[in-house]
Every structure is written in C-alpha cells, then in structure tokens.
C-alpha cells in the first residue's frame, strides 16, 4: 500500500479513539500532530491538553494497537505530548517575567505612582530589564510622570500589543486606551477585563522586574491581580500620619489574606528638608511607617523625603531619580530598589516553598 493511502487509513483508525473526558475522537479534537508515514513505518504525536492526563497511557496503548492492526503498517511510534490550553486562573501568564512587584497603598494620594515610577527607574538604572504596569485604571498617572505622550499602543499578532518604551523601561497604562483627558467610566467586571488584558496580551518580552502600580484600596483590581498574576511580593506605601496608616494596615492585611509575600513598608513624604538647613522637618509626624512594619514583622524599606523637586519631576515627566542624582529623594529611591531586590532574593531562597500553580484533573 502507498504511504499516502496508509496515512488515510491510519487517520480513519485514530478517529475511533475517543477522549473519555471530552467525549470526542482525538482526530476531531486536533490532538494528532506531525503524522509521518514512511515505508509502512508510522510516527505521530498525540498532544493532550494536560501533561497530567489520567488516561494518557490508556490512549497511547489504544492508538498503538489500533494503528498496528492496519494492513501494511510495519511499526508504530506514538509520542504523547501536552499543551496546556488557555483557561481562566490556571493560565501560565507573564512567564518571561522573573519578578512581579505590586506597589499598593490603602489610601489614595500617598505617592504610590511616584514611588512606582522611581522604583522602576532605580531598578532599570541598576541594569535590570524593567516593566511598569499602571493598574490604576480610573486615575492612570504613570504616562504623565514619565513624560510619555498619549498614543494608542502598537498592536501585534493574536490580539497582543506592545508596551510603550521610555527611559529604557516598558510601560502599559489604561491612559493609552483613551483619548487624552477622557475618563474611562467602567463598572467592576470591565476593570477585571482590562487587567486580564494587561496580564495576558502585552508583549513584555523578557523582564527581570515588573512593577505594578495598583490603584488605592482593596477592590476589584487588587483581587483580580492577586488571583491571576503570580505576584512575587508587595510593597505598601504610606505617609506618616495615622489616617494613612490605618488604611495601609488594611492593605497589608489584604496581601496577608491572599498570601502575597510582603516585601515591606515605604514611608513617603516622611520629612521635609528646607533649602536653608539640613534639619529634617517631620511635618506629618514620624515613625508611623516603621511602627506598622514592626507590628506585622515585615521590613521597613525606607523613608522618602518630601522634596519639591519630586513633584516637579513628576509633572515634567522626568522622575527625580533621573533629574537630580544628588537629591536626598534619589538616594532614598536607590536604597528602596536595593531593599526590594534583596527581599525578593530572600523570598526566592525560602526552601519551604508551597506548591506553585497547579491543575489536577480528577480520575474516576
């Protein structure tokens, strides 16, 4: 029999092999790949939806038995492979990203985006490949702070799109999805959809660190991210006064309850250094961030001074860390980046690692 005809018979036989879970034959399901028939020797792959398929061996035996029973077949070689299909929650996302850092606060207005932008820049300046995701959908401010004009992102294949690039870091923001100044008015479920897109559809390339600037609070965006993204650790930003600390504590508790490791607390607008003297003026009280860190036994990463150049840098689109290397704020951000990187290394070194993302198909 000609090899071509033989291949037709083989496919016809394989059409009688049923996947017991999906109740369809493996040919219709598209599982049969790389069919090769040469001189009566048949070789092909069966690509299952999970490497943990409980009926893998059974299917393999059935394929081999059925194909070898065809007249003219001399040998059969079946290789079982698996390609885990896209499924909500269990999808491998951001696989080229080594570390995902969430920057959060309980309260708005504590300088989360400023900290995120400068932290990302500090990590980049240390030589790392860095991405910055502006997950504050309603109030995206990262493009402004980095001086990126509002243009739609460049599209790629398969619904993917490319991040904007500025100062050597890759940036996505909801601001790019709208015309400048037009508010995005969305209800909760839509927020989750945008975050999902940021996680799945962005061509980040290889990154050492992805910094995620979260919106304030403990809502939809935070929950979606903690359920879908493999977050390596969270940084909680607070200002020194009680009213901010109360909410920062809620942020800390949120990460605890979803088991995202806390890298530590940053106290922003910690003190003011005036032009005339070197004295640190603690305008909003002092020590609150440190006390919060001690209460939860998590690291106090650094305190960042209130310097008018930080605000100017943000408004002009040149982060302080680039604009003024000698600023006390620059020193604080450089320290922060070092502390964050160190805490991540500590977490990676932790031997008692829990099971990472898994999916089990039940048998019987």
């Amino acid at each position: 029999m000609l090899d071509q005809d033989l291949q037709v018979s083989v496919m016809a036989q394989l059409k009688t092999v049923m996947d017991p879970d999906l109740h369809k034959d493996i040919v219709s399901l598209g599982f049969v790949k790389n069919m090769n028939v040469e001189g009566g020797n048949v070789k092909f792959q069966v690509e299952l939806t999970t490497p943990a398929c409980p009926v893998k061996e059974q299917l393999k035996t059935e394929c081999e038995t059925k194909v070898s029973s065809i007249e003219g077949v001399k040998s059969v070689e079946v290789e079982m492979t698996a390609l885990v299909r896209a499924a909500e929650h269990s999808q491998p996302i951001l696989t080229n990203v080594k570390n995902i850092i969430a920057v959060a606060s309980g309260k708005g207005g504590v300088g989360k985006s400023t900290v995120s932008a400068n932290l990302a820049m500090a990590l980049q300046m240390s030589g790392a490949k860095v991405g910055l995701m502006d997950a504050d959908i309603y109030g995206p401010s990262i493009p402004q702070m980095l001086g990126i004009p509002i243009t739609p992102p460049k599209g790629g294949a398969d619904n993917k799109f490319y991040p904007h690039e500025q100062y050597g870091i890759k940036v996505v923001s909801a601001a790019f999805l709208q015309k400048e100044g037009v508010p995005l008015m969305l209800r909760g479920p839509m927020l989750g959809g945008i975050i999902q897109q940021f996680l799945q559809n962005v061509e980040w390339g290889k990154l050492d660190y992805l910094v995620i600037d979260l919106p304030p609070g403990t809502g939809d965006v935070q929950l979606t991210l903690t359920q879908r993204a493999p977050i390596s650790g969270a940084v909680v930003v607070t200002t020194p006064q009680e009213v901010s600390l109360i909410d920062a504590e809620k942020g800390v508790r949120m990460f605890e309850s979803v088991k995202v490791p806390l890298l530590g607390i940053v106290e922003n607008m910690s003190y003011f250094v005036c032009d005339g003297c070197d004295k640190k003026h603690h305008i909003f009280k002092s020590g609150g961030g440190n006390a919060l860190a001690e209460k939860f036994k998590i690291p106090f990463l650094t305190d960042i001074p209130l310097v008018s150049a930080v605000v100017e840098g943000g408004d002009k689109g040149v982060p302080i860390i680039m604009a003024d290397p000698s600023s006390p704020a620059t020193k604080a951000y450089t320290k922060l980046a070092g502390q964050v990187a160190a805490q991540l290394s500590i977490i990676h070194a932790d031997k008692e690692k829990p099971a990472s993302s898994f999916e089990i198909a039940w048998e019987g």
């Binding site: 929650h89 979803v258 209460k295 939860f296 690692k353 099971a355």
Partner: protein
C-alpha cells in the same frame, strides 16, 4: 508592639496535592502535616456565597441535596492562597483558602 504574628509563621500552605483514590484527596503541607480529605466533606463545606450566606454566615447548602457519587472533576490553584474545585454536580464557585482547607482536615490530631 502588638502580639501580632508574622505573616510567614503559623500559616502553612499546601506543598503537594494529589488524588489518592476516587473519593480521597491528599495534601502535604509546608509544615509537614499530612491531610486526607473525603471529597464529599469538601463539597459539603463549600465556602461560596451560594452555600454559605454571605452576610449571616448561615449554611444554605442542604447536604442531602449533594449527589451520593459527588466527585471533583478538576481542581486548581487560585493565586497563592486558595484552591478552586469544579464538582461533578456542576458547582464550581467555591474558593477554598489554605486556612479553610487546613481547618477542614479530618485527621485525629486536627479533630
């Protein structure tokens, strides 16, 4: 300072999760503890808002309404803190946090 415990201590997570047989799920925890769960026990204790009233905490699920041959069809991790089960009765809305799973352990030491 308060007596608050560090988030790292006393907060075990599943290290290894596997099907033991058609009605039992096994979990080995990061603290070394080993749990074996009857899958029916897990279905009966589903924490979702259909099964437990969200505001009052009163159980709304009638255990007698669960089929005798209840099985998971699959289970998977949610973030770093929970496990989600899809059940043979079509129910799949429960997110079982690691803390809940540990509380549901039926071993002699835990009961």
């Amino acid at each position: 300072m308060s007596e608050e415990k560090s988030y790292k201590s006393d907060n075990p997570a599943p290290k290894d999760i596997k099907q033991i047989d058609s009605t039992n799920l096994g979990i080995t925890w990061t603290d070394g503890h080993e749990s074996v769960y009857k899958v029916r026990h897990l279905r009966e204790n589903c924490p979702c808002a259909h099964c437990i009233d969200e505001w009052t905490g009163v159980k709304r699920l009638d255990p007698n309404s669960i089929p005798d041959n209840i099985r998971p069809t699959k289970l998977h991790s949610v973030g770093l803190y929970a496990i989600q089960f899809s059940w043979s009765d079509g129910h799949d809305t429960g997110l079982y946090s690691h803390g809940l799973m540990r509380n549901l352990c039926q071993c002699v030491d835990c009961q």
